[in-house]
């Protein structure tokens, strides 16, 4: 049981408990911070699994972009009067039952398979870059167009238009 293993399971526990906290809490901002903690722990787990490039992307895009965007959304859609952003819940029992059912099915599904352990060296960033611009050139271009379209669409949708 060396330090790497301990840290690996530590980040797994942190990610899981942050997600559980998101389910339990009713405060919108606390949940956003829980999401941030969960995503950062998952980025750390990506490093352990040899996906450094993905881990950096996760931190940059999710922690730097999506969570900030969501917090902006919270600020713009809630009436803040000094009290915390408590929200209502419904279908609590049904939601927990559905989630527990899916969890049971997935654990049943995953527990059977034996997976080959991680072997030797991992891919370098150079390899990833070369593959991205040769084998995956078309998907990268398409996702560039997708990002442009969604940028324009969200800017257009969020602007206040003059009603005729």
């Amino acid at each position: 049981m060396n330090l790497t293993t301990v840290l690996f399971y530590f980040f797994i526990v942190v990610a899981g408990s942050a997600a559980l906290y998101m389910v339990i809490t009713k405060d919108l901002l606390h949940a956003a911070l829980g999401l941030l903690l969960c995503l950062l722990s998952v980025a750390a787990l990506f490093i352990f699994m040899g996906a450094e490039f993905l881990a950096i992307t996760q931190i940059l895009v999710y922690a730097g972009g999506v969570v900030v965007l969501i917090i902006f959304g919270v600020m713009l859609t809630q009436r803040i009067k000094g009290n915390s952003l408590v929200i209502l819940q419904n279908y609590t029992v049904a939601g927990i039952l559905v989630a527990a059912g899916f969890l049971f099915v997935f654990i049943k599904l995953f527990s059977g398979k034996a997976i080959a352990e991680r072997t030797a060296e991992t891919a370098t960033v150079q390899q990833i870059g070369v593959t991205l611009l040769t084998e995956y050139a078309l998907p990268i271009e398409i996702s560039g167009i997708l990002l442009l379209v969604c940028l324009i669409a969200s800017a257009f949708a969020a602007t206040a238009h003059q009603r005729k």
Binding site: M22, C38, L54, I87, F106
Partner: protein, 103 residues
Amino acid sequence: MDATHALLYLSAFLFSCGLAIVVIKRNAIFVLMGIELILNAANINLVAYNAAKPQALDGQFMALFIILVAVCEAAVGVAIVIKVYHFYQTAVPDEVDQLKENF
């Protein structure tokens, strides 16, 4: 329990938490957060299976494109929620029950 199985169980747990959030919480922003959690669970799965074959990068690239789509979804989703909030003065999905304004 080896590392890959631990990651698979974590991804199953994150998916279930995201699903529970989507069903339980009465707030559109919260639902978006649950969807982010679900997409992230899929990413963990892809990376965990990709780690068995480090030279084949397909799983990592699939996860990369999932991140891209998740970003687009979050941006457009938050824009729509803000627009809906301006119109209905609420961010509760259940109370948004009309498509066009009344005449």
